[in-house]
């Protein structure tokens, strides 16, 4: 399957998960070379099947708190422990990956294993990175089309894959009040809104894909 199809599938999967479970909307692609602002929370989910690979998700702490508030029903300013923030990022990665692989026509079952990988340094673009303060999340997919012996990740959590694909999508989380809201809108209580702009770049850094910054929905 060509990379652009993977990109489209990943974009659709990310949008579905954010809208359904995190009551957050999509806004548009990140500027080329952008990566999430620090501090970040990052998780890598290795999947084993056909294909095998890994999905790395790196989200700024600011965005994680907004997402966690939506997901867990807490107030955005509540001091959530780091374990919960990490858990939210792991679960988000888990659902994006599951949603993505559900679109793959295969009779094989996938195995998943998610783990936190610190502040997501491994998600930094390898060359020419341009920090952009509005970039709140980056998502990256590495894959192998064939099943090989071993897992999609090395034991230290680094990617074993040699055939990278770049994911894509743009999103803007919606702050919540009480029960989840299925549509994106600025929080009337706090007036805050967020823009998640995943940066898409190749796993091995040899080639980076860029996307236009015009999305189907404007950044909030």
């Amino acid at each position: 399957m060509p990379d652009n199809e993977w990109n489209e599938m990943l974009a659709a999967a990310t949008g579905e998960v954010l809208e359904t479970m995190f009551f957050t909307d999509l806004c548009g692609p990140a500027p080329a070379g952008a990566s999430p602002v620090e501090p970040r929370v990052a998780a890598r989910l290795c999947f084993e099947g056909t294909p095998s690979g890994a999905l790395t998700l790196s989200v700024s702490e600011q965005a994680v708190r907004a997402l966690a508030a939506n997901f867990l029903g807490s107030e955005e300013n509540d001091p959530l422990p780091a374990t919960q923030l990490g858990g939210v990022v792991c679960e988000l990665a888990n659902m994006i990956c599951g949603s993505l692989l559900s679109q793959v026509k295969t009779e094989e079952h996938f195995k998943f294993a998610a783990r936190l990988i610190g502040n997501g340094d491994e998600s930094k673009p390898r060359t020419g990175a341009v920090r952009n303060s509005s970039t709140l999340a980056a998502c990256r997919l590495c894959r192998r089309e064939k099943t090989h012996a071993g897992r999609g990740c090395h034991s230290n959590g680094s990617c074993r894959s040699s055939m990278p694909a770049s994911p894509a999508r743009l999103s803007a989380p919606t702050p919540r009040t009480g029960m989840p809201r299925p549509t994106a809108a600025p929080d009337r209580r706090t007036g805050k809104s967020w823009s998640l702009r995943p940066a898409y770049h190749r796993c091995l850094g040899s080639q980076r894909k860029t996307h236009s910054s015009t999305g189907s929905r404007p950044a909030l």
Binding site: E16, V17, T20, M21, A68, F71, L72, G73, T83, Q84, G87, V88, C90, E91, N94, M95, C97, G98, S99, L101, S102, V104, T106, E107, E108, H109, F110, K111, F112, A113, M179, P180, P182
Partner: protein
Amino acid sequence: MSFRVLIVDDSPVMRTFIRRIIVPSGMEGAEFLEASDGAEALDLLRAQWVDVVLTDINMPSMDGEELLRRLEADAVLKTVPVVVVSTDGTASRIRQMLSLGARGYVKKPFLPETLREELERVLGGAYAG
């Protein structure tokens, strides 16, 4: 009417999410038990009755697949309805889990109403709404 739900998932945040969406979605009578894997779930099920089990598949120690096998092998526990809640939405996986005895399958991500409807369907007359 009250009913007891056992949530089996190795992710504490996912257990919290499920708990918090069930009650506001109109099922005020729900009581919750939680387990982080299949083995812990079996221990709980042997100690106390629950009306429905919501279980993930990929978990350490004992996964959801093995949990279903163990429940099916137990003359008493096989009567407890199990709904699988998983990110794995491949057709083959859904077929497999249903063939192992799951009464329902909810693929993540899901809307709160989807889970509520599945619970109502599985609980049938045990839950009056």
